[in-house]
Symmetry: C2
Subunit: 253 residues, 2 copies
């Protein structure tokens, strides 16, 4: 199953979710591939890939200079591999505009790989060609949503884009659900946003939510997912619970 | 003076800085224009513009369907006006690729307006054509930097882009400085990042830093800058101090 982790609002926890959910699924014995489609390359950093040795990367795969099988790398986590991003990816959106099947480049390349149980695509904070490629390649979209006002405001724009891609480019695309991130029980605004989202989106909102937890933001500086850096912290436990709920929701479909 | 507020890392406080710094400068008697160049339109929301009545907006101005003077609106804050963003802006990057002077569209349009003391351009979280347009139109760049590891990692990519735009498209572009945001004294990682940034960037880092303060994230839900919503909160005071320091740095140049 291919899942795009997308939200055009910046800093809502897309990368943190991609890296830690992938690790939790691998820890349960699933074969997992992370695709880092953000030119910032934060997911590649979070999984310990040295910045200097990331090429060939997603960029070369999208423009056709490298086969997918030559770009996939193992990570330090058993069962978890990655297609890294490098800074060259920031030129891809302009370069792909006039190419053939510009919205299907990622889907076509991933189709040449052996199937993984899960492929998680970490999207950049925009609705441009890289995110559209992820939505075309995906079976479903998982939306991390920070419990803040600006994040809530952007949700309808994102849901509209998902619908447009579904009807024009990828019939099978479904909204898997919304995951509330950086939830702070002591903060009235955070509680209010969580309530508003559950009122509007109902069962599409995962029961598991990710609390604000500094260990989640410390882990990337060690090149490790939080599940490895500190498996007992609240953040890690939240992502393990999320992985379990995700499997439950998929089996129930 | 035209200042681009830019950082491709998402959620670092670009919009919060644009809205509150603009309000602080207007409160000191400066004439200020905010340009919302993020398709999410968060700066337009933060300054109280109703979502349904934002057109003609920056999009129409960039593609040549509207004059700049017909797009500028007053806000509820005396001395502060805005060029709003609407959802149509998300199509601009692809639509502008094959046009004339695609990197100078914003600069050309702003040149037709009467001069303001300050024009602040709120950029989206990417280094695409909208951000390049802002860097071409600007005299200087202000970089909000969240005191987190991923934000620090993206800084060199951003500084590289500023240098490239300066040498290829806009000779006068300068880095005005870096403003540390969401600083949390109690958090070791936050302190560590602040130390690292000051060690690397020296005097380019503003002395004024913005603490994590929930009032800053509550204000946009009321369509108000924090300076109006709660002028005595730590966030508002930080932006007033930032405005003073900015004026001091500009006068000293
Ligand atoms: N639950 C959490 N608690 C505390 N910090 C968090 C949490 N989730 C993420 N963070 C931190 O918040 C910042 C933003 O998260 P992250 O980078 O994962 O978001 P993103 O949506 O991928 O950002 P971008 O839009 O730039 O791609 C990072 O510094 C990360 O370490
Ligand atoms: N100093 C602060 N203290 C607490 N919350 C803050 C602070 N600054 C910004 N925020 C909140 O953090 C979130 C991210 O800030 P903001 O939207 O201004 O960042 P941005 O860089 O403009 O994001 P994007 O990359 O999506 O454009 C918002 O919900 C905002 O209200
Ligand atoms: Mg990310
Ligand atoms: Mg913003």
């Amino acid at each position: 199953m291919i899942i795009a982790i997308a939200n055009q609002k910046g800093g809502v926890g897309k990368t943190t979710t991609a890296v830690n959910l992938a690790t939790a699924l691998a820890a349960i014995g699933k074969s997992v591939l992370v695709v880092d489609s953000d030119p910032q390359g934060n997911a590649s950093t979070g999984l310990g890939l040295d910045r200097k040795s990331r090429e060939p990367s997603l960029y070369q795969m999208l423009i056709g200079d490298a086969e997918a099988k030559d770009v996939v790398r193992a990570t330090a986590i058993p069962g978890l591999s990655i297609i890294p991003a490098s800074a060259s990816l920031s030129g891809a959106e302009v370069e792909l505009v006039d190419t053939d099947r510009r919205t299907h480049r990622l889907a076509d390349a991933l189709a040449t790989l052996p199937v993984h149980d899960f492929t998680l695509i970490d999207c950049p904070p925009s609705l441009g060609l890289l995110t559209v490629n992820a939505l075309v390649a995906a079976d479903a979209v998982l939306v991390p949503l920070q419990s803040e006002f600006f994040a809530l405001e952007g949700l309808s724009q994102l849901l509209g884009t998902i619908e447009r891609v579904k009807s024009a480019l990828n019939r099978r695309l479904e909204l898997l659900g919304i995951v509330l991130t950086m939830v702070d029980r002591r903060n009235r605004l955070s509680d209010q946003v969580c309530e508003d989202v559950r009122a509007v989106m109902g069962a599409k909102v995962f029961n598991s939510q990710v609390p604000r937890n500094v260990r989640l933001s410390e882990a990337p500086s060690h090149g490790l997912p939080a599940l490895i850096y500190d498996s007992r912290c609240a953040g890690s436990e939240a992502y393990v619970a999320l992985a379990r709920e995700l499997l439950g929701r998929i089996n129930a479909r």
